[in-house]
């Protein structure tokens, strides 16, 4: 059952979907195929594609999962902008024609399925995890790494990235330079560099400040405009440049990762807070 069927099924209007179709095993080049779709209240572009698959064309392919803007799977080029198909309602596009294409700046696997391998390769190059020198502590934790609320606020917006690739699809530099690290990976490199629990800034500098790093950004701001989670990659890139400038002049020193806080002792739990459930997995 499509998502729209569970909602109000009154047809508001009909729209024409123009969907880019491409099967590398059969087609020489991608071509647009048209479908007429009845639109119901709250129907998203993803619902529209599902309706087409259920009623008109079983061979239509795309990638989607959560249907609620969390997993980042259904990034598509919809009416001229990279968007998530699941959190864009058809009526909000204010058009009787919905043109759906795969995300630009990526190869097409089939129809609306982009090959995101380059996105994840670049993401990995940013080392998107805590890098610390205390390996023993990481393998056998004795406490929590300290971080104040303000320190968390300094990077939290960059941590909302869902790796949907919309910023990479919108970026004009990614469009011309396949080597450019791109807004997604640069933002993640900056997110972990800003994390006070992290000690890997020098390692990440190889990605951030390479000849295809932050200095190739043209500051078009398209990445920030299209991000469905409100992340501002353009800001992260500018902050990374500022940090490099301040460090070059000795105005900002390389900080040390925050220490481990020992276990909390002599505390009394608040009566209104329910007791934690028993662990479902026990260590042997």
């Amino acid at each position: 059952m499509s998502g729209s069927a569970a909602k109000d099924s009154t047809v508001i209007k009909t729209v024409r979907f123009e969907v880019l179709r491409y099967n590398p095993e059969q087609d020489v080049k991608p071509k647009l195929k048209q479908y007429v779709v009845p639109v119901t209240k709250g129907m998203t572009v993803l619902d529209g594609l599902t309706w087409i698959k259920e009623h008109q064309d079983r061979t239509l392919s795309w990638r989607s999962s959560c249907r609620m803007g969390i997993c980042g799977s259904c990034g598509m080029f919809i009416n001229g902008l990279p968007r998530l198909a699941c959190n864009n309602q058809i009526v909000h596009l204010h058009s009787d024609v919905v043109v759906v294409k795969p995300l630009p700046n990526f190869d097409i696997i089939r129809d609306l399925v982009p090959d995101l391998e380059s996105l994840f390769d670049k993401h990995r190059s940013a080392k998107p995890h805590l890098l610390r020198k205390d390996l023993a502590e990481q393998n056998h934790p004795t406490g929590e790494y300290f971080q104040s609320e303000q320190e968390l606020m300094n990077y939290i917006q960059f941590a909302y990235c869902i790796k949907c690739g919309l910023c990479m699809a919108a970026c004009p530099t990614v469009a011309t330079s396949r080597d450019y690290v791109g807004p997604q990976a640069l933002t993640q490199a900056w997110r972990y560099t800003m994390d006070t629990r992290d000690d890997g800034a020098p390692e990440r500098a190889a990605t951030l400040y390479s000849s295809h790093g932050v200095y190739r950004c043209h500051f078009a701001g398209a990445c920030s405009q299209v991000c469905p989670k409100g992340v501002d990659p353009a800001l992260a890139i500018q902050l990374a440049k500022k940090d490099a400038f301040l460090k070059a002049f000795g105005l900002r020193k390389q900080r040390q990762a925050t220490p481990v806080l020992g276990p909390v002792r002599d505390w009394t739990p608040k009566a209104e807070i329910p007791k934690a459930p028993a662990p479902t997995v026990t260590r042997k």
Binding site: T176, R178, A205, R216, K241, A244, F245, A248
Partner: protein, 123 residues
């Protein structure tokens, strides 16, 4: 952090160019206003005036500084544009080296001209 240093110089040279080109525009194209204020020559484009300026230490230093700033800024910009063409690492290194050599050679030649004209005092 080599790229960070290059980028810093790129920004710094932009500021230098802005100031020195502003000075150039003021002297060459705002002479009518400067004359009202009682400063500057009647016609700064006359060859005698050009020679006169070139034989002052201030202008010689200014020309060399502007030459260096413009060369670095322009060649770094060119290198950045070419790097966006998804070239091989070898070609990128070659372009970087070529820009450095060409920039240095043009700077030496341009500075030589500025100093040579400066030393023609009395002509």
């Amino acid at each position: 952090m080599r790229e960070s240093k290059l980028w810093f110089w790129h920004i710094l040279t932009a500021v230098i160019i802005l100031v020195l080109l502003g000075l150039h525009m003021g002297i060459m194209h705002l002479s009518a206003i400067l004359n009202v204020l009682g400063i500057g020559p009647d016609d700064p484009t006359k060859s005698a005036e050009v020679f006169h300026r070139s034989q002052q230490l201030f202008f010689m230093i200014t020309y060399i500084l502007l030459l260096g700033a413009a060369l670095f800024h322009g060649l770094y910009g060119l290198r950045s544009m070419l790097f966006e063409l998804s070239l091989s690492k070898t070609l990128e290194k070659f372009i970087g080296g070529l820009c450095a050599v060409a920039g240095f050679a043009l700077f030496v030649y341009g500075s030589y001209v500025a100093v040579a004209v400066f030393q023609l005092k009395g002509v």
